[in-house]
Symmetry: C2
Subunit: 466 residues, 2 copies
């Protein structure tokens, strides 16, 4: 599924590339990847997808079939021969995958020939926007769920093969396992699953279905109990099977509720199980769950041990997209800016670095300072647009967020596994104060510019005034 | 991107398959694919994804790596050897891709060994749910846009590689072209594109950028005019370049507006172009468009010729998912039913056929009758739950919607191209009366059961009463 050819791009990248190839083939450029709003009206975002992008860029090629196709679309032969040998040989500075990020500051910078950095724009946005969205959504659900077990089971409602990456991002955001075998295998995520209603329907009676399932699947056996009647049929039959398993020295892992009032049914179920000395049997719940439903179930003390989440997770509802963009900040070594009537959409010029302020307790203070890449130890940061506002940074420890991850098309750091990235995200989140984590009106994580960057930007704005 | 291995499934499909393999390996089953609600609160849905599913099923395999992975996950060797040789050898009856479909009636039926029909559930739902959602969304935008040109440019905000299928479904729903080169190539969809702000920023001035672009891209040249100031800079420069092109015997195709008030700017732009005898230069507009924004722009008589639509199209906002399900309707030749406390969620047993009622004018009357596959010429249909309601069908021409498309794992009909499917969808839509097409409170397209099917279902409901 990572077999993505270089034609997985927008046509205009190639149209522009041909003009660059003809008019100024030696030009270089730097682009910034960033987004404008935290998704889900949240207070922060978890950056995900970087390792996939590095894999994709290391292997990016136009296939012969791609070239043949482009021959019929107004491209010239010398440019197509260039594409035939095209490899991405650019360099990338990036925030670590799994780190906590915020709007309107660079997350990733790509430098190289303008042709190569432009051609990779689409796939970079495609992969990073989506996984960052889903990792952030998954973490919202994780925060609602506390230490309950979380299972991703959204593949059937995912956006076609995008589901492959959804399961990866869910693990980074804090999910424990996935039903998606392909992603579990490729990304080494724990896989898990229960049973479908159809399994039970294929038997004349529910008890026999449960018995067969337990016989041939004794480990991690979860019985789906709502096919006919959860309390009158499913749970009594599950109890019978649990006792039969005990007599064989086995243990039923759990029962799954997939309809009805989950708070009510889980309490009744827990009592029926406990009354039969089956306190070890877990309760798994599913059915259109999201962070709000899970929060409500927890507030009602629903004795649910495992939440299975599907559609709302893998589609990133209700946002469905992160508004990440890719903007030119330097061309042939000269700073570049994108203006907008909406001042918040004005881009930042130059190669940059982002410093995160760490307070005396080692926690994130709540401010990132953006400066020129050449600057160090910024002593003061300025509000991007309100010249009366500034913050003295001398009291903070400063942490550089952008690091070199690819040079001339080759990785410069060891690959990190999904579980390492998930651990890193968890560690970084532990440094973020709670006021940025709440769902309602989270605190605003400050952004500021160094004096030099602000001066450079304002100079460019003035040059382009109409 | 169609290289989907059989491990692109939910773990529980394999868990259940192993139990079937051990406990009742010769069992057969029939499953129905259907959805419960039209997306976007619309009055109908366009079925899409079938040709991809047939391609996938014809080639479905577990790779050696899949088998190695499963060895470490509680599966037994004899079952894994079975999976190593697994091929889908089932049969499929389906509605034609591109047809107009409605909730709670079978769209596709899969028959085969219970193991194979269960294993393919996930990928079938994954591909059909998503493309059906996007084709339907695309058609909403098409209906708003009238005969304006529609360009899909959503790849950067699509759900990772799901964007490959989004562009295909958009074409089926009525989009004219896509920016997505890979999809355009593989599915033979017209490709198109304009230019990015970065292209203009890479030049010292906008005019020179436009001139170079026109020089090296004279065909279908579209100039992006909002980088600095649409009316003070972009349009005057575009006019200069259009005149230069005229002097070379070329024609500027269009200008693109990507920010600001599109109604206001398009009117000003049109006037400036016309005042310079450039009435042939088209106006392309983009920026967070959807069916409602386009409807409003048309109502304001905005002189826009081409709409570029991205995020809202390819993510299927706001729904983001179609609620399609896959339910067992027959097991070893015996009817099966899934009950629910919510009567609308009770499934229909048996192999079935769906007949669409055609009125005297050859239009869809507004009713589909579901019957046993063995029935023909149904004379009366009954409301699924209100026994007082029935409809006499003798006045209608009846059209069978489900046809055989795959037998023993092989297609039985010629592949259809995306443009053929799009044409078919357009033709079928022309038979649907307007009252089902409106956005607000569309008319309800009736569903009914034949007497025999209703009797069979009610018998099963009674058998399972608690």
């Amino acid at each position: 599924m990572l077999n993505i050819s270089a034609s997985y791009t927008d046509l205009y990248q190639l149209t522009m590339a041909q003009v660059y190839f003809k008019a100024k083939p030696k030009s270089t450029a730097v682009f910034d990847y960033y987004f404008r709003n935290n998704p889900f009206q949240g207070g922060f975002t978890i950056f995900a997808g970087l390792e996939n992008i590095l894999d994709i860029l290391e292997n990016l090629r136009f296939t012969d079939a791609d070239i043949e196709y482009l021959k019929t679309h107004d491209f010239e032969n010398d440019f197509l021969e260039y594409l035939r040998d095209f490899r991405f040989r650019g360099s990338i500075f990036s925030v670590s995958e799994g780190d906590i990020v915020f709007p309107n500051r660079p997350i990733l910078q790509v430098a190289g020939s303008i042709i190569e950095v432009q051609i990779v724009e689409t796939v970079l946005l495609n992969i990073l926007n989506f996984q960052t969205l889903i990792a952030t959504k998954a973490n919202r659900i994780r925060r609602s769920a506390g230490d309950k077990i979380l299972l991703d089971m959204g593949l059937r409602r995912a956006h076609a093969t995008g589901g492959y990456f959804a399961s990866r991002a869910a693990a980074i955001g804090g999910f424990d396992s996935t039903s998606n075998v392909k992603s579990a295998k490729d990304f080494n995520i724990p896989s898990s699953g229960t049973m479908a209603h159809s399994f039970i329907q294929s038997y004349e009676d529910e008890l026999k279905a449960f018995q067969d399932f337990a016989l041939f699947r004794p480990n991690n056996c979860v019985l789906l109990v709502d096919t006919f009647s959860t309390l009158k049929s499913g749970i009594p039959n599950a109890i019978t099977v649990a006792k039969e398993m005990e007599s064989r020295g086995e243990r039923l892992f759990g029962v799954r509720l997939d309809s009805g009032d989950l708070a009510y049914l889980s309490k009744k179920t827990r009592k029926m199980l406990d009354d039969n000395n089956l306190d070890y049997v877990k309760i798994v719940a599913s059915n259109q769950l999201d962070e709000y439903v899970i929060k409500s179930l927890n507030e009602q003390n629903a004795p649910i041990d495992v939440y299975g989440v599907g559609t709302n997770l893998v589609t990133g509802k209700p946002d469905a997209a992160l508004d990440g963009v890719y903007k030119l900040s330097e061309y042939n070594g000269n700073p570049r800016i994108k203006l907008s009537e909406n001042f918040i959409k004005v881009s930042l010029p130059c190669k940059k670095q982002v410093y995160r302020m760490i307070d005396q307790n080692g926690m994130f203070y709540g401010a990132d300072a953006i400066c020129l890449a050449s600057e160090e130890n910024i002593t003061q940061m300025f509000h991007p647009f309100d010249s009366n506002k500034s913050l003295d940074l001398q009291v903070f420890k400063q942490e550089a967020l952008l690091e070199e991850v690819m040079v001339k098309g080759k990785r410069t750091k060891a690959k990190r596994t999904v579980s390492e990235i998930a651990e890193y995200a968890k560690m970084r989140l532990s440094l973020l104060p709670d006021e940025y984590k709440r769902f309602q009106n989270p605190h605003f994580y400050k952004i500021g510019l160094s004096a030099s960057l602000k001066a450079k930007r304002d100079e460019l704005i003035n040059q382009h005034k109409f």
